[in-house]
Amino acid sequence: MKKFYEQLTDKQPWNGLFMGNHAVARAMLEAGVKVITSYPGSPTPEIAEALNSVPQEMRDYHFEWATNEKVATEIAFGSSINGNLSTVFFKSVGLNVASDSFVQLGLMNLTGGLVIILGDDPGANSSQNEQDNRHFARMSYIPVMEPATPAEAYQMFLEAAKLSKQHQMPIILRLTTHVCHAKELIKFGSVGESKGFRADFDAKNGPYLPITRAVFPLKKKAMEKLDLLKKVSEKSPFNKIYSPFGSGDINGKKLGIISSSMPALSIMENLDKAGKSVDLLQINFSYPMPEEMISDYLKGRDEVLIIEELDRIMEYEIKSLAFDRNIKCRILTRGTHEEIMGELTSERTWDILSGHWPQVFEINIDPVHEPFANPRIAQMCPGCGHRSAFHAIKQALPEGTITVGDIGCHSLGFFEPYNMGEMLLSMGHSNGTAAGLTIGNERRKVLAFIGDSTFFHAGLPAIINAVLYDHDFTLVVMENNTTAMTGHQPHAGTGEIGEKISIDKVLESFGVKFIRRIDTYQQKKLAEYIKESLDHKGFSVVIASHPCMLKFMKQQRRKEGFVQKHVEIDQNKCERHLTCIEKFGCPSFKKNDDGSITVNEDLCIGDGSCRPTCPVSAIDFKKEAE
């Protein structure tokens, strides 16, 4: 088996078993993309994993983890107007961060071409909402392609890159979680000879300054480009009819379905199962919508059911098309709020289909077997520095303190037994929200958390604001020297990209008067600092630092002669206070049926961060057998 990067960069056509994210990385190489930027976020980080697997000297492209999604978008824009085919990718909510610049892209003449890959997350598997970014496309006059499978994601990227270069406009490739992470055999093409980077920017290719009246010709051009793309979507092979049993009459009516991307696959499976003559129009090149194709489809049927994942976007556009063209077809849609939420898996689409047409989708699909299991709630790893921090901080907080969470592994602090970080909006919100909680508040202390990657991503403006007004709260920077939640990507403060940017020095230069730094395993000292910082009148910061132990242990285990250490409980000392289980909450501790506490050595990493939490000092390092 070839190494992954050798497969990825193979110049010859070949067939590979690839996941969607890796397949689009391959497509980038085949399309000759020169500049690729991103900020880590599920479900897309494996695109970068693929690009970064290639040794530096073999790369014909530049890949960059930017500080945030907006910066990533701007870098891709800059390189595109210099004549380089560029790509930016990030997760669904990343577009909110990028949006200030993103919404302008449709107005611009992107001479090199620019493909934007959005990892939308129906079902909110790893996001704080399940926003439907097709709305943003309409707001910004940017076409959208929505692949249903990894193979289609690969093919669509190539098509998007071609159209983007040809029309010098941005194109969105909208992936969803199951397209990103599904794996199948894909027929890849060849990778051409490398072309150098270009530096061809010329203001005459623009204008690139949308100010006041100059906006209108740019907007007009954006709309004209969309008109051109509509002609492409009308003929696109990505928009097609699936008709396993023809489209005959059922009880005197011809029935059809319109859907797109992943839910269309669920429907195809359901059509096979039902075995009736209902067909499906699958619209994967979805914006601009192929109006003629859809009109013809509606005209040939008595009832058409529209099933799309998340919001009612296609539905409203198709209804308005039918109204304008006076098409008599009866249009059926999803009905309940529940049907607007979550992933449309095959059993859920079956329910929608049988709700409208019980005579067609008549088989009972209720499960035969009931599940039996208790949830495994996401929890911090054994040895996680955040656990020590939460345990120490919780004891230091006065009654009634309001704690503000942020995005990252430390969001898990909200769960039992810590219950800290009680609200969450977005990356970097915590300082702004905390400031608001202090205003006119003489009674309750306020404490905010932020991770180190988020500190650089979106934390700085609100911190500057807190310094300026000297808002009276404490910020705890939960530093773990990586972007842990998404798989250990580097950030500005890790020193893996360029020279490490020191959080302490940034804060000092802003003029923060109270800054303390402490390793979170020093729980007593950390608790003292927290008390001190909350007593400090005005804005204060405690940097609660400990390297991500999941990353650290992965590195340690690869080392020659590595011996796994553990802690053990001295059963003669243990008085069963249960602090280790109930308050510190490390999953390595187990309470047995006889009431005794033991250590699960499969989980324990022997970090010893639990030792100071035991009131009778019954926990100590185990003397490992030689």
Partner: protein, 195 residues
């Protein structure tokens, strides 16, 4: 031929290498194959599942519908019964017996096993113990593939080829240990089913 398999376990246990071995065996036989991987938080200890679909016809969705799975292949007992709604009426539950107990409310293991035994087609195997006995505790997941090998709709030799392909670059020793584990799992299942 169609085999819909739910792979389940706990983060860090290695269900993806099971999917890789079976997947390569399937495509080298010219079958269609689709796999839904669940990625998310990188931490260990959460429940993970992967849908693996193999067929001689085109496969549309990467997800197995409720009541559609031919096999639930699980390397953790409680995780095997979490996905029971996916199992078809005549489907098989093939699961490792060793619990991964990192939660406060892990049910009594006797109750878990009783639940598994309610499914008419099941194999309960102590894959950790078998892997340790052959001196290769890391090959526990290959023991599991071996236990399921009679139900995958492909020749046993295809699975051996899959192991050679996947572990080939790690050297002959690793390949042989994994093949031994595969065989041990197969032998166990055959004896188990005779009882």
């Amino acid at each position: 031929m169609k085999k819909d398999i739910i792979l389940s376990g706990v983060g860090g246990q290695g269900i993806l290498s099971i999917a890789t071995v079976i997947g390569y065996a399937a495509i080298s036989k010219g079958l269609h194959m689709k796999q839904a991987e669940v990625h998310g938080m990188s931490q260990r200890g959460g429940d993970v599942q992967s849908h693996l679909r193999i067929s001689d016809k085109e496969i549309f969705s990467d997800l197995i519908p409720f009541g559609g799975a031919d096999i639930i292949l699980s390397i953790e007992p409680m995780e095997s019964i979490r996905y029971l709604p996916y199992l078809s009426e005549d489907g098989w539950v093939i699961t490792n017996k060793t619990p991964y107990d990192n939660i406060v409310k892990y049910p009594d293991i006797a109750d878990v096993e009783a639940e598994i035994k309610k499914v008419k087609n099941h194999i309960l195997i102590d894959a950790d113990d078998i892997a340790k006995k052959i001196g290769s505790p890391m090959s526990m997941n290959m023991v599991m593939i071996g236990a399921a090998s009679g139900f995958l709709g492909m020749d046993y030799s295809e699975l051996e080829k899959g192991i050679k392909f996947i572990f080939g670059k790690k050297g002959e020793d690793v390949v042989n240990k994994n093949i031994e584990a595969l065989k041990a799992g197969k032998d166990f299942a055959e004896t188990y089913l005779k009882k």
